[in-house]
């Protein structure tokens, strides 16, 4: 075995791969060989580092130098300058968006400082395609401990004590779920991993599967041991090819080592895992819909009870947990419930992974202790709002969640607090909005998503969401009335109250929370025909400032609908009844003589 003195960690997550990180890896290997360093320096393809904003990301160990936006062409320079000469490459270093200074290593990045990585503990740290590296990080020690030292009841007790709650959105106590499934008697039971991540902008589960697939395999086996199942199924969307590939490799390796299959670790426990592919329907994240989809039926939910723990896949007791939930299991077993439960808040223990997105400097994947405030996440870890704009709102919980405002920034994030302030944890999507975002349009965006993703089984979700969307659309078109705002609230509440599954029961949340928190903005749309964020085209007007207009006719000549009139060298005029608000005049004007009001 080569004795490497340095490790170059290259992010091989989907995001960085899309920016040619695999080519970068190749080039690094080539450059090392060229310099005869292949015995001294190891290039490791890892899972996601989380810092997706500036991928591809490369971290050099042992000095923790953190390079961002590295191109394949940078490989040679990294080897020749950094590796050989020990000189950091300045232009690849990360610049703190606020302090405007270069940060030499990841230990000094605000992005990482406040994070506690349990579920993501191996992401960016090991090569996910190498089971040895997982084992080196205590991998499969947890299943070993369970099988040799603990009864299934004791493991369940440990999970219960840890306070772990489902990370898929519902927040149901994991230990209790396992206990119920264990107590359901049947000749066959199943462990299902829900990897049907579907929130817009969310990629927590994908990153875990890409970066640390063995942890899911191990956790599922532990669950199987606890509930009395010898069969696991991972329901994963076919749109996650890299996660599928890594999972397949991991499954093969685990089988080869005998860590899956029959008589695991000589204890007589049998367990194996099969992959089931979903076509990416959001509703299939709902566990009964997921199960129906796995059974080859239409992916739509059915009434609970019976819960899957009692009657699930093939009508057998089935324990469904989300990827991130599973990722926490080996940590709890290895380090103890006490270690886990000391992190977090009273009702929400441990950490939560969030996918930060939107108008934020550090877009990416983060993991923080429960109880971290939104402010810390957005301003410290997330580096604040892009381009120095003003923070307006943050949507948590994806299309099921709500929009929170400045007033909620100091709310410690946990399951109950988020519900208290009118949103929810959801699976961990977090989208940040700035002053340029119109909250009516935001609500409409989310509703459009649910509209597409509703299965259409129950009337309130099928028709109710359509009607809600139509009302929102009317408002953004400037045709809404104050009565429409009441209708939104009334209908939204009925849809929540009557829908069959979690999708419809939460789909009006973005509307209701924006109505609560940004009522004035809605009112401005319907009463003053104004969109303060300037997003709703129908409510905008392009006007020529006569004093600034030189009468150059450039706008006049470029207007596609002939809405502009005026003589050369005298101020022009836009006929609002003809204007289609395409904005060409605004772009073309060289004298800043056109304003948007």
């Amino acid at each position: 075995m080569a004795d490497y003195k340095m490790h170059i960690m290259v992010c091989g997550g989907s995001g960085c791969r899309a920016s040619e990180s695999d080519k970068l890896t190749q080039n690094l290997d080539t450059a090392l060989q060229k310099n005869g360093l292949e015995e001294d320096v190891q290039v490791v393809t890892t899972g996601c580092f989380g810092f997706c904003e500036k991928g591809p990301v490369v971290k050099i160990l042992p000095d923790n130098t953190f390079y961002t936006q590295v191109t394949p062409e940078d490989a040679e320079k990294i080897v020749e300058e950094h590796i050989i000469k020990g000189r950091q490459i300045k232009h690849l270093l990360y610049e703190d968006p606020n302090a405007k200074e270069l940060i030499p290593d990841s230990k000094h990045m605000d992005f990482y400082k406040k994070q506690v990585r349990l579920a993501l503990r191996n992401c960016g740290f090991i090569n996910p395609e190498n089971i040895d590296e997982y084992i080196a990080r205590d991998g499969y020690a947890a299943i070993g401990k369970c099988l040799s030292e603990m009864t299934p009841e004791a493991v369940i007790e440990e999970i219960k004590e840890s306070g772990l709650r489902g990370r898929g959105g519902g927040g149901f106590p994991t230990g209790l779920k396992w206990d119920i499934t264990r107590k359901s008697e049947a000749d066959q039971k199943y462990v299902v991993c829900n990897a049907d991540e579907g929130d817009p902008g969310a990629f927590m589960d994908r990153s875990i599967l890409e970066g640390d697939p063995h942890t899911i395999i191990e956790a599922m086996a532990i669950c199987g041991y606890c509930i009395g199942a010898d069969k696991g199924l991972v329901y994963i969307r076919a749109e996650y090819p890299l996660a599928i590939e890594r999972l397949k490799i991991a499954l093969d390796q685990a089988r080869e080592y005998g860590l899956l299959g029959e008589d695991i670790l000589g204890t007589g426990f049998n367990f194996d895992i099969e992959l089931k592919y979903g076509a990416g329907a959001f509703v299939c994240g709902e566990e009964t819909a997921l199960i129906h989809s796995m059974e080859g039926l239409r992916g739509e939910p059915t009434f609970k009870p019976p819960f899957p723990s009692v009657s699930g896949y093939n009508e057998k007791p089935t324990n469904v947990n989300n990827v991130e939930t599973f990722a926490n299991i080996p940590v709890i077993i290895n380090k103890g419930a006490g270690f886990f439960s000391q992190i977090g808040t009273g009702s929400s223990k441990g950490t939560k992974v969030f996918a930060l997105a939107g108008k934020i400097n550090n877009v990416g994947l983060i993991e923080v202790p429960m109880g971290t405030t939104l402010r810390e996440v957005i301003f410290d870890i997330g580096g604040g709002i892009k381009d120095g704009k003003k923070f307006k709102a943050v949507q948590t919980g994806g299309p099921s969640g709500g929009c929170l405002t400045e007033a909620h920034l100091d709310t410690p994030i946990d399951f109950d607090n988020l519900i208290k302030v009118g949103s929810m944890m959801g699976s961990g999507g977090m989208i940040v909005m700035d002053e340029d975002d119109c909250m009516v349009a935001v609500a409409k965006f989310y509703l459009e998503f649910t509209l597409d993703e509703s299965c259409g089984k129950c009337s309130p979700c099928r028709v109710g969401n359509k009607r809600l969307y139509e009302i929102l659309d009317k408002i953004t078109q400037g045709k809404g009335t104050k009565e429409d705002l009441d209708k939104l609230r009334l209908l939204g509440n009925v849809v929540k109250d009557t829908s069959l599954c979690g999708l419809g029961q939460t789909s009006p949340n973005p509307i209701l929370s924006t109505l609560d928190n940004f009522y004035d903005e809605y009112l401005a749309h319907v009463e003053d025909s104004k969109c303060v964020a300037g997003q709703c085209k129908a409510l905008m007007q392009y006007k020529i400032i006569p004093d600034a207009c030189s009468g150059c006719t450039l706008c006049f000549r470029n207007c596609p609908v002939g809405a502009i009139s005026g003589e050369r060298k005298s101020p022009h005029f836009i006929d609002q009844s003809i204007c289609i608000k395409c904005g060409v005049c605004y772009e073309k004007c060289k004298f800043d003589a056109i304003e948007i009001v």
Binding site: P62, K85, G86, D132, A136, L265
Partner: protein, 129 residues
């Protein structure tokens, strides 16, 4: 690879493979391990810093001392090359000059292992990176 047939097998494999990522584990918590920075500018390399560094790495590993050995640019003590900076957990960094193999051995034996001072300390007058 043979099958992992028991917990003991698993533990054995873990021990075997752990060294593979030891460097990563240590660099993830540099403040908890011995940190050694070797000045590897032209002057350092010319005076044998590379050999010194290789020696330190293999010796620390041989003695199973958790450490992070990194290279750094010129520290400015060209007269005293090779120079190294050693930071013990919870202590201020200390810079040593003229560190050849023998000196390095002494530093490890006395300073790193027993926290005894060794000759050749260069008074620190600026913060290294």
């Amino acid at each position: 690879m043979a099958k992992v047939k028991s917990l003991a097998d698993l533990k054995r494999i873990k021990e075997e493979v752990q060294t593979k990522i030891k460097l990563r584990e240590n660099s993830d918590r540099p403040e908890q391990v011995v940190q050694v920075k070797v000045a590897m500018a032209t002057c350092g390399i010319a005076s044998g810093a590379k050999e010194t560094m290789n020696y330190i790495i293999s010796e620390l590993e041989h003695q199973a001392i958790d450490a992070v050995v990194t290279q750094t640019g010129c520290m400015g003590y060209c007269y005293a090359e090779p120079t190294i900076e050693v930071t013990l957990p919870g202590k201020e960094p200390v810079v040593f000059g003229h560190v050849d193999k023998t000196k390095a051995e002494e530093i490890i034996e006395k300073y790193v292992k027993r926290n005894e001072l060794v000759d050749g300390i260069i008074p620190v007058n600026y913060k290294s990176i």
